[in-house]
Amino acid sequence: MAGQERRIDDTMLIREAQRGNHAAFEELVRNYDQAVLRLAMHLTGNETEAQDVYQDAFLKAYKNIGSFRFECSFYTWIYRIVTNLCLDHLRKKNVRKEDAPVAADGDGGEYSLLDQVPDGRAGANPERDLMRRELGKRIHGALEKLTPRERMVFELKHYHGLKLRTVGEILHTTEETAKNTLFRATQKLRGALGEMR
């Protein structure tokens, strides 16, 4: 029911944005930008690049909102734009082979994003914290070895909890193909991280 209401709200906002109402478009941005930034950060592993993806995605959405024909939800549409930008990024990154995910601090220095994962569990101790960070780096390394498409399906399913049907819609493919891609991705990850269990 809440999803249906959100969709009705989105429809009104999209129609307003199509008429050139900036405020309506800004409201659409605010409804989805946190999820978009989270996805971009996880996929690029870098705050600056995530901001670039965020910027490009919403600018692209703004310029093309007039061609939005309500054939899918705005959510699917904006995710499609973001995933395409991230896929391009991952393909380029596969050529460059960059290091661990980084962010810039106030002084312009860089620090690892993996070190920022909060540990909310009770009884956390430095040794366990160190092991968790090590695990994070190993998982990141294993994710980097997946193909961009496998990585994308795995991210959307595992970390963002989307249904595979939706993942298929976003990636312009079938649910069945998304299932197969998820299967391949988990097999590869299990192979790469097998000794950690």
Partner: protein, 353 residues
């Protein structure tokens, strides 16, 4: 053919289309039931991932669980997959920090200021493939376009002179010497100034060229421009000026809506604070205002706005929803002042039996 064999046949048909790597299978014995059992294990192992992610249909999930209950190898495989899933889940997704989100929003706002939306002719010129695809799949649409084109051609030949007269009429209607601005024609507000010692307000706004409107705050045109500026302007100074003037008329429904919008959405904390101040007197009588003030108290990134919101809910602190928020803030808010004040407000409330 047994039910299990039929089931496998279905699965085998499905998996033959897949690119899932199958293990080489060579039956050691010619025992058909053993063959069916082993093939079922293959199917289960291909679908365990989907089971762990809750993506199996009810009948397939039931079948998988039945098989796992009987087959120790597959049970071990399921346990292993679940452990792996748990291992991956130990590193959650990093949430973007509020600062990063705010910085991204500001950068986007600046970029949107100069960006232009694509027009229909732009799409036609730059994405003809999509149009052709649409026409290709819509014979009725293709026929309609053909008929319209044909009729248009005939019409143009015989009624050229008549159309010229009609067109000039349309042009004069579409460009009337109207003084009332509307949202569609206003592209931005460049400045708002109040004439000192009077109630006259001077607003410079842009359509195709900068225009000037003058009048008092009660003037409808001035009010419309102020409401437009409060919601749409990319210049925070102009937004601040408009909200500042609008705060003089918070009893007007449209003005109150604009103030609520500014409180909930404006990126400038000064503007949010100003809207909050004007809305404060309605916290008791308007439930939308109360909820917006509560939302600002809980979510606003600016401690000053939160503190002001906390002071404003004083008259409604006994409300159930307000009391709930205060209890949550008193227990675990990061801001010490908010925590202490919430406790003190709760302490003044009568106990609930």
């Amino acid at each position: 053919m047994s039910r299990e064999e039929k089931r496998w046949e279905r699965c085998d048909e499905g998996s033959s289309k897949k690119q899932v790597p199958h293990r080489a299978f060579s039956p050691v014995r010619n025992d058909r039931s053993e063959w069916v059992r082993i093939m079922k294990c293959e199917w289960v192992r291909e679908n365990i991932v989907l089971h762990v992610y809750g993506e199996l249909a009810d009948d397939a999930r039931h079948e998988l669980e039945q098989h796992v209950a009987r087959c120790s190898d597959c049970a071990a495989e399921l346990k292993s997959e679940q452990e792996f899933h748990a291992l991956l889940s130990q590193t959650p997704v990093i949430e973007p920090s509020p600062n990063l989100l705010a910085a991204s929003r500001m950068r986007l706002q600046e970029a949107l200021e100069t960006a232009e939306q694509g027009r229909w002719w732009h799409r036609l010129a730059f994405d003809p493939a999509a149009w052709l695809r649409q026409v290709n799949f819509s014979p009725a649409l293709a026929s309609a376009i053909l008929i319209v084109g044909f009729a248009g051609g005939i019409g143009a030949t015989y009624k050229y002179a008549g159309l010229r007269i009609e067109n000039s009429g349309i042009a004069s209607i579409a460009n009337p010497a109207s003084t009332a601005p509307n949202d569609a024609s206003v592209t931005g507000i460049s400045s708002i100034t109040q004439v000192p010692g009077s109630n006259q307000i001077d607003i410079k706004y842009n359509t195709m060229a900068t225009q000037d409107a003058q009048g008092s705050l009660n003037d409808q045109k001035i009010q419309q421009l102020l409401l437009f500026a409060a919601r749409n302007n990319f210049n925070s100074g102009v937004r601040m000026d408009s909200v500042d003037l609008l705060t003089q008329k918070p009893n007007d429904v449209q003005v109150r809506d604009a103030l609520l919008y500014a409180l909930q959405n404006d990126t400038n904390p000064g503007i949010r604070l100003k809207s909050l101040g004007a809305l404060g007197t309605y916290v008791k009588s308007d439930v939308r205002v109360r909820d917006a003030v509560l939302a600002a108290l809980v979510n606003d990134a600016c401690p000053g706005v939160r503190t002001e919101a906390l002071h404003l809910i004083e008259p409604v602190k006994a409300d159930g929803s307000v009391r709930g928020v205060l209890m949550a803030l008193a227990a675990k808010d990061q801001n010490q002042y908010i925590r202490t004040q919430s406790r003190s407000m709760l302490a003044q409330l009568p106990e609930i039996d």
